[in-house]
Subunit: 412 residues, 2 copies
Amino acid sequence: MPVLVMKFGGTSVATLDRIKRAAKRVGVEVAKGYDVIVIVSAMSGKTNELVGWVNETSPMYDAREYDAIVSSGENVTAGLMALTLQEMDVPARSWQGWQVPVKTTSAHAAARIEEIPNDNIMGSFGNGMRVAVVAGFQGVSPEGRITTLGRGGSDTTAVAFAAAFDAERCDIYTDVDGIYTTDPRVCKKARKLDRIAFEEMLELASLGAKVLQTRSVELAMRYKVKLRVLSSFEEQSDEAGTLVCAEEEIMESNVVAGVAFSRDEAKMTLISVADRPGIAALIFTALSDAGVNVDMIVQNISEEGRTDMTFSCPTDQVARAEAAMAEAKTTGTINFAELIADTEVAKVSVVGIGMRSHTGVAAKMFQVMSAEGINLKVITTSEIKISVLIDRKYMELAVQALHDAFELDKAA
Amino acid sequence: MPVLVMKFGGTSVATLDRIKRAAKRVGVEVAKGYDVIVIVSAMSGKTNELVGWVNETSPMYDAREYDAIVSSGENVTAGLMALTLQEMDVPARSWQGWQVPVKTTSAHAAARIEEIPNDNIMGSFGNGMRVAVVAGFQGVSPEGRITTLGRGGSDTTAVAFAAAFDAERCDIYTDVDGIYTTDPRVCKKARKLDRIAFEEMLELASLGAKVLQTRSVELAMRYKVKLRVLSSFEEQSDEAGTLVCAEEEIMESNVVAGVAFSRDEAKMTLISVADRPGIAALIFTALSDAGVNVDMIVQNISEEGRTDMTFSCPTDQVARAEAAMAEAKTTGTINFAELIADTEVAKVSVVGIGMRSHTGVAAKMFQVMSAEGINLKVITTSEIKISVLIDRKYMELAVQALHDAFELDKAA
């Protein structure tokens, strides 16, 4: 029988009633003839409780013990979901990570799945079992210790199972009903997308972060797993939610799929850097060594041997970046006049695979911003994305204007 | 290095503070040079919460899922205890049942430990680890599913580890400071025993039930594991608590070690049973088939082919016993006039290995009861115990009088 993977997040299994509701959705798919692999998170709040105890006990905790403790939340949900399905006369059993086994690296609290042998669960399907309820977010290391994949890792578990079992689809049930052209809280005209390409989804990560973990989308793209995001709180049809899929499966699409934004961005400018070959490498190696995640980089035209170098990074890494640059100046590694930090900025991006074949998107974006009187501080582009850094106070205005200009409220 | 097993029950690990206190006790033993195996229960209340969810989800639950869910409480405590010890610079790690592995039968929710290979944990001790924190009450079946040993199973886990690792002693930390000659709430003169023989402990189960699980004492007796019961809430010396040990290790002891009692006993009498060979077998087979746990049995002298048969059973099994006997009468299997149930009785027992070599204990017991005007309804004896069934209203009086008469307030 074809295999379907269904993943339910913490809010979807927060209470026994919600577990029952989720189980009913599973029952519908079983009735259609699927063998179903259900991936569950911990009941919402449980993981935070456990993490709180760990932090209180040992602020610099041993990640192996953290994993052993924190993984217990998913085990409870998996057992309860299996019991609920059994009560509905659906043959089901729970599987903990080590039982499958979900083989991971030894990088505790941030492990990567290396292999999921499918013989144990396929064997159970062969023996009349219809649902395998798997505790998400966990696995087992080569040393036989329990590992976790990091927060949000249940999405990754789901996609990895869909790949390992060649599943027809991987349905991610969550508390929103799909992926939108932009955040509806910022732009009321935001429209739910029926389909979106993997590449677009990755670029829209800032919109999708609450919905889909980036790593799970990367994995889905690599293994061509059809990923559907839909609400566990609404009656569902086969066409509900948003399908994240390969570009080829999207017949008709807008040039621009969505508008993403991030408030969590700071602009840093090194004034009057002594410009010589290798200076950029020195600067960004120093920042990387200090744990600063640099996003955008712009270098102005060099004049008289000196240049200004601008980059952006998350706001909570500004202090770290300043310390790294101050040290580099003291030791004489990097010669510059001043470092100016601007934390009152935001990043706005338009994303769409259509950009590959359509020109003029950047020009149109800049015209819109100009018409609204919004100054562009930094511009960067990729094959399917154009991002600009602007004053944070104009962020909502920019998002709404771009959404209108690219007619994202209308389907292709 | 010699191995010590230390077990902490649910109240002893109920909060992070209590876990810290328990960890300090472990640290003291490590400093003495022991490699320590710590067996932990779930934080008190946690197991009940999980059992409540299981019952609400599925009243006739699949015991395999029950075990997978309920065992998670101990895993959390084991991890937190390991972290707490690490914070004290004591090298420690947690072990879940399947990691050791604790190999059990497949009798879910009531599994029996079959084998505990000690190479993994001994290997960790060899690599500089000083404490193995093991989640109690759980194991793994031959099918690779998680099993539990039944409520209170953590004591059994502790003793089984002490046997498997040839431990010098198994210390059971709990919320009382030892085994008493009788329940201090019933008799103020009750005295804490320094030592008690395994056989006596088993007979005193009704006193020790809250302290030590019967199965753990049986196991300790079979493998000659020295078992010490002591409080986790008091400063401890090496001589604290009560040592449960082999008879040979008790130099001097009173003839009677303690007075046990049970309010939970009903007296059932079958009047005028047609007496023929095999009738007792018929009666007690029918009761056993109905799930009635018969304790004492007395048959009066047979007159004119008919006899009265008296037995006792737990009060909550009276209805079941009555139903079984009524059915046997209807089908003609057992011929009797009437079944009389007396639920206003109590059982009082004196227990002591000294009885083997000292005569007159029974006589003295009966004299004491007679002097207090207490009528004896049923009497049974074993090699080291004499039990009587009396009116429940006299129970406290009987316990106090016997405690005085056998001078249990004085050490031997």
